[in-house]
């Protein structure tokens, strides 16, 4: 028995036939081939599968797909492109804010939401705001620097715009 759900993913509406128990993460990664939605712990601990739902970070492995219907979903694929990185992505590159990179999409998306709520966070606020993410490679100090750099870049952009 399947349900048709309208998922608005990265600005594109699509009706997907899902089983009621399918998680948003399973549908985004497994059905819509969005590999950047990284499935890992599947218990809401590591944050690798984080997407923004109506602008707020959510563990996609912990949300039923059916509960994400008609809501705006942003995955890393919808943020920047290889030729046109979002300032947060560029800041992560510049500050070497990743090693293996598996956790990176989740961190970037949470950072986006964090900076929208708190445009000038200090290191402690960044650490707390990103506490829903595990980086097993241990890159936290450079991740914090990247978010601080991104905050400056975004402020400048806003000033220029």
């Amino acid at each position: 028995m399947t349900i048709g759900v309208n998922l608005r993913v990265n600005g594109v509406d699509q009706v997907v036939e899902i089983a009621p128990h399918d998680t948003l993460g399973q549908v985004l990664n497994g059905r819509l081939d969005l590999n950047g939605v990284r499935i890992s712990c599947e218990e809401g601990e590591c944050g690798a599968c984080t997407v923004l739902v109506d602008g707020e970070p959510v563990d996609s492995c912990m949300m039923l797909a059916v509960q994400a219907g008609e809501r705006d979903i942003l995955t890393i694929e919808g943020l920047g492109t290889p030729d046109n990185l979002h300032p947060i992505q560029q800041a992560f590159v510049d500050e070497h804010a990743f090693q293996c990179g598996f956790c990176t999409p989740g961190f970037v998306l949470s950072a986006k939401a964090l900076l929208e709520a708190t445009p000038h966070p200090d290191a402690a606020e960044i650490a707390a705001g990103l506490s829903g993410h595990i980086c097993r490679c241990g890159t936290y100090p450079n991740i914090i620097r990247a978010v601080q750099l991104a905050a400056q870049e975004l402020e400048q952009e806003a000033g220029d715009g």
Binding site: M1, I3, A19, P20, H21, T23, E42, E43, G44, E45, G47, T50, V53, E56, P57, V58, D59, M62, M63, L64, V66, Q67, S110, A128, G129, L130, S131, G132
Partner: protein, 291 residues
Amino acid sequence: MVRTFQHLRPGSPREACALKAEHGPDAAFWAGGTDLLLEWRRGAADFGYCIDLSGLTELRLIRAVDDGVAIGALATIASLQAHESLGRDFPVLLDMADRFATPQIRNVATVGGNLCHAVPSADCAPPLIALDAEVTILSAAGERTLPLESFFEGPKKTALGEGEMLAEIRVSRPAPRSVCTFERMARSHVDIALASAACRLTVDDDSMVSEARVVLGAVAPVPLRVVAAEELLVGVPLTAVTDDLLDEVAERAAADARPISDVRTSAAYRKHVSGVLVKRAAAEAVRRLGE
């Protein structure tokens, strides 16, 4: 045959209760689902019908009411943090929310879900009990209220009967000189509480403790109010709440703790730390009252 459930999405609390009454234990109320999804996946919970409450928008609200605040059962933990006046009137709820799980979980997990899942370590319980919160329960028959203190009957067992749904948590604005604090101990920054404690102290115009609440979390089958520890503080002038007295209060509270040993830590550790947390929560309340 793949294991699944049927998805039902009521449009009103009445409809939700009717569906639950119809399907009985074969149906589960699904709020944020952050606990229930894991249990269903593991097979620890099994049901044929998921009653998705996300359509009950009015239950998501946090409303100012005459004498305090009414928190809808479906208010997310994040909405506690975002609410403009809640932090001013009930800062302890903000303290609790700031340390609850992760930001992602807070965006989805609900106050009602946390209370109804009723694990001994539920973070929402100790501060709300310390604030003398009351819960409103809906059913086809109407509604009833209950002190939150009486809501918990055992691990994962609440006073909700068949067909009943938690709708709202009401907290009266405390007296002008009343402070409520919350302490928790865990293995790292993000973790289920190994032990927690909430303490509320109210002083009268003569700076005498007129009311006290001491509530332990995670160290008994249910969140535990320790009246005997409270009584040690009532009637004592604030200036006479010494370090020694706080030690007594802590010891009396910890004496009632009956925690378990598990993969997280030992019962002995939990019991000891519950006393430490009570002392710290009470000391902080005293400090703030003295300001």
